[in-house]
Symmetry: C2
Subunit: 412 residues, 2 copies
Amino acid sequence: MSEINGERLLADLRTLAAIGGLPDGGVDRLAWSEHDLAGRRWFAERMSEAGIEARVDAALNIFGHLPGTVGPWVLTGSHLDSVPNGGRLDGAYGAVAALEVLRTLAESGDPLAEQLEIVGFADEEGVRFESGLIGSLALVGELDIERLRDGLDWQGVPIRQVLAGAGRDLDRLLEAQQHRDSIKAFLELHIEQGPRMEADGIDLAVVAGIVGVHRQRIEIQGTQNHAGTTPFRLRHDAGRAAARAAAELRDLVQGVDAEAVANIGSMGFHPGGVNVIPGRAQFTLEVRHLDEPVIGEAVWAFATRLERICAEEGCRVVVELLSSVPPAPMNETVVAALEQVCRELGRRPAKLSSGAGHDAAVLSRHVPSGMLFVPSVGGLSHSPRETTSDEHLVLGARALLRGVRAIAARIK
Amino acid sequence: MSEINGERLLADLRTLAAIGGLPDGGVDRLAWSEHDLAGRRWFAERMSEAGIEARVDAALNIFGHLPGTVGPWVLTGSHLDSVPNGGRLDGAYGAVAALEVLRTLAESGDPLAEQLEIVGFADEEGVRFESGLIGSLALVGELDIERLRDGLDWQGVPIRQVLAGAGRDLDRLLEAQQHRDSIKAFLELHIEQGPRMEADGIDLAVVAGIVGVHRQRIEIQGTQNHAGTTPFRLRHDAGRAAARAAAELRDLVQGVDAEAVANIGSMGFHPGGVNVIPGRAQFTLEVRHLDEPVIGEAVWAFATRLERICAEEGCRVVVELLSSVPPAPMNETVVAALEQVCRELGRRPAKLSSGAGHDAAVLSRHVPSGMLFVPSVGGLSHSPRETTSDEHLVLGARALLRGVRAIAARIK
C-alpha cells in the first residue's frame, strides 16, 4: 500500500510559502499577481519532475494527470492564490498535498494514479476582484463573464488587463469548461480556518457541507434630536433600537438552531454627534447555516424581533438584501467514504460544516464532492499567524490519498 | 402697571429674522459673521430709537441702559448669534424681549427702567469655534485667551482675523470683564428647545438649573475573527459587547434618577467587514443631570455594567474622558421670584431643568441668575422649523417684565 512522503510534503509547503513570502511568515500571492503566477509555475515544474503532465487552462487553473490517461478523473486539489498578507496553508496545502498524493501513486506504479487528476485553482479568494472562485466557476461553466467585463481590481487595474498580462483573454475564460466532463468527483483537503477542531480535540474532520450565507444591510430610521433637551420618553432613538436588536441576535439565532451562526460586522449611527440622538442607524447582518430553511428561519426570527423593537422605539426598519449564497451539501457517498477513511486512520469520524466558502462548493453542484479538514492552530486564518502542526498536515495528506482511493472505488 | 407691546415684539422678531434670513424661514447669523454684525447693528439702532444708550464691549456683546444710570443693574437678554441654518428664536427671542421690556418701562417712565440693563451676547453657540459662550465668558472674566489664540474657524480663518474684521482685538477680549461688577443679577428668557413643555401642556417654565454634561469616548477591545468559521462560544465580539451595553443604557440611567438623561450618539465597529467579527467597537457616552452626584452615579452604573458585560464576552474596556461640565443651579431667590411671576400670570409654576447650555450658566457663577422658558413647537431647535406660538412669545415677554421687577425688588 502506497504512503505519502511526509517530509517531502512539508518541504514543498515551505518552498511554496517562500514564493510571495513575507518576513513575518505570511504569504502574498494575490490572484494572477506576479507571485501567484510564479507559484503556479513552481507547481507545474514539480508535476513535470514527477512525470505528471501539467496543463494550464483558460482561467490559469493548473491541472495535472499521468500522460496517456483520458479520464474521467477523480479531481483533487485546492487554490494557489492567497489573500494579501495571508497564511501559507490556505489553499496551498490542498494543492501541494494533491501533488504529493499523485506523485506517491505514480512512483509506486499504483493503478489508482491513472484515475486521478490534481488541480491548483485560480482566484478562489475574491479579494482582488469582487467575485472570487473565478477559477472553479470557469471550470464548471458558471462564470458570469458579463459581470466581470468592466471589473477593476482594488488598484484600478481592469481585470481584462490583469488576465492579458498573464497571457489569458477575459472573453475566453469559459473555455475552461471544456474540461468539466472529464471530472467525475472532487475532493478538497483544506485547513479548517476556524477554532472548533482544536477546541474539541479533532485531528481530522469530514465536511458535511459548506454553509449558505445570507447578507443584509439594515437601516433603522428614528428622529434626530437634541440629547440634552429631549427626555427618554419622547425619543425615537435609532441607535438604541439597533443596539437592542444586535444585543439579542445571538440568542435569537441559537434559538432557531445551535449550529447557526450570525454576525453584525458593521454598525454606524448618524449623524454621529456626541450630543445628538441618532436619527439613523445602519448595520450589516450575516447568517450562515448548512440548511437553507434554517437560514430563513433565523433571518425571520431576527426581522420579527427587530420590527417589534422598532415599534416600541417609534422607529422604522428598511432591509436591503446584499447577497444570498445557498448551502452546498457534500455528496453522501463521498462523505461516507471519508468517514471510513477516518476510521482506517484510527480517528473517530467527526463531521463539521464549513463556515467559509471553498472551490468544493462550486464543484459540488456538478460532480459528487467532498472535503477534509485539518485543525488550524488558534483557529487563525487569513493571517501570517495561520498555521497547522506538521503532524496534522501529514495526517491530512495520508487521509487524502485514502480518500481518493475510496472515492474512485465508489463513484463510477 | 406697564405692559409690553406684543405686536411690536413680534414685528421686531420678524425684522431681526430677516437679517441672515434664509428662504426656508431659517436664520444664519454665525458668530461675528457679516449677518451677525448686521443683527447687532440693528439691535443697537432699536435701542437708540427708544432712548436707550447702546454700548458694544471688547467681545462685541451689546449692552443697553438708560442714559445717566450707573448700575449695578439687573441684566436681561440672550445671544444674537445663531447656528448655521438655525432658527429665528434661539437667543434672538431673549434679546428682543429684553429690548421690549426696557423700552416699555422707559416709555411709561417706570422707575424700574433705571435698574435694568439689556444685552445681546456674542458667540454663545460655539459652532464657528470650538468653545462657545465667548461673549458671556469674557464678561465674567473666565475666558481662556491662551486656548483661543491659535484657534481657526471651520473654514480655516483664524479667530484673531475674524475679530479684527469686526474691529476687535483677540488679546483685549477680557477687557469686557470691566463691566462685570455693574451687574447684580441676570435673567434670561429663552425657548425651551425641547419637547417637554408642549408634551405636558406647560406655557411658561422656571428653569431650576442647567444640567452638567459628562462625556466619554469608550473603546471595547475583543478579537477580530472570521464570522463563518468561529462559533459563538469561541468569539470575543466587541460589537456584541457594545450593543448589549448600549441597549441597557436607558434603564441603568433611569434607575439612578428619573430626571437623568444619557445618549450614545456615535457607534462604530472595526474593521467593519460584513463577515468579520468586530475586534473593536467605539462609541461616545453623554450623561446629563442637574446634580453632579447623580451624573457620577449614572456614569458609574453604566461603567460597572459595561465591565461585567465585557468580562462575559471576553473583551476589554478603555474609557477616555472627553469633557465634564458641572451643573449650574439657578439662584433660589430668583427661582422663587419667577415662580411668583407664573402665579401672577395665572400659570401653575412649573420647574424644569435646562438640558442645553446657556449664557445664564456662565452668569450664574457670578451673580444670582435665573431663566424662563416658553415652549418650542414639536421640541425643534437648531432648525429652520424651530418655532413658538405668538401667544407664548408674548406671554414670555410679559413674564420677563414681571421677572425683572421681582428680582430688582429681592436682590439688592
